[in-house]
């Protein structure tokens, strides 16, 4: 299945700010997206240490299962206000 990945803050220094697509095996979870990104960019060490995640615009834990066409967002600590 194909999944869209979005990220913000310092993560855009590694992965760009445009979003991108990943091909993942059926049954994948948000955790699998994170593992893949950590392999591609070993310097992106804050991915699991300090980020939260959203699936289709709602907060979701790492073990949330993904569907084809869904959007996973990786959210560093926020600084709105």
């Amino acid at each position: 299945m194909r999944v869209t990945v979005l990220c913000w803050g310092h993560l855009t220094d590694y992965f760009g700010s445009e979003g991108f697509e990943l091909e993942l095996p059926e049954g994948s979870q948000i955790q699998n997206v994170i593992t893949l990104l950590e392999q591609r960019e070993p310097k992106a060490t804050r991915l699991t240490r300090s980020c939260r995640y959203a699936l289709d615009e709602e907060y979701a834990p790492l073990d949330t299962p993904l569907q084809d066409g869904c959007t996973v967002a990786i959210l560093p600590p926020m600084s709105g206000g």
Binding site: G9, H10, F15, G16, F20, S50, M78, S79, G80
Partner: protein, 150 residues
């Protein structure tokens, strides 16, 4: 009905106030967050805010609705994104209520919760570098070329 939005434009505090300051309310509490010249001991030239816009809209609206229900008040929130100069407002929360105590409490709740829960990030652009602000951390913006499609 709560009002909450993300905007690219300057925030019009007076227009936002009009949304919640009807004659049934005797108290209006407003919080304005604006661009400060100093941050963490550095001088700031300007700020850039980015947001996960559709999720931020939803979260802002939920916070406004939670406050309305919990305190029986009327809430309008607007958060600006993009580039902002010194003294420009990045966020405005306005709460109207019959009496003053709930207007203060609900306003404080909205801004505190917004900071925890609404996916918005700021970049501080300083004379000596730019920094992503992520919670308590400031991470220098990398000059390394970005791989847009890793």
């Amino acid at each position: 009905m709560a009002h909450a939005s993300i905007t690219q434009d300057k925030i019009d505090v007076s227009a936002l106030t009009d949304l919640v300051a009807g004659a049934s309310n005797g108290a209006v509490c407003t919080f304005i967050g604006q661009v400060r010249r100093n941050s963490r001991g550095r001088e700031v030239a300007y700020l850039e805010y980015q947001a996960y816009v559709p999720m931020a809209q939803k979260q802002l609206f939920r916070i406004a609705e939670e406050a309305e229900q919990r305190w029986g008040v009327e809430v309008a929130i607007q958060h600006r994104i993009g580039r902002m100069e010194l003294c420009e407002a990045s966020v405005v929360v306005v709460v109207g209520s019959p009496h003053r105590a709930p207007s203060f409490e609900a306003c404080r709740y909205c801004i505190d919760t917004l900071k925890e829960r609404v996916p918005i990030w700021k970049k501080e652009v300083c004379p000596d570098g730019s920094f992503w602000i992520e919670g308590e951390e400031a991470i220098e913006v990398s000059d390394a070329p970005r791989e847009v499609n890793p």
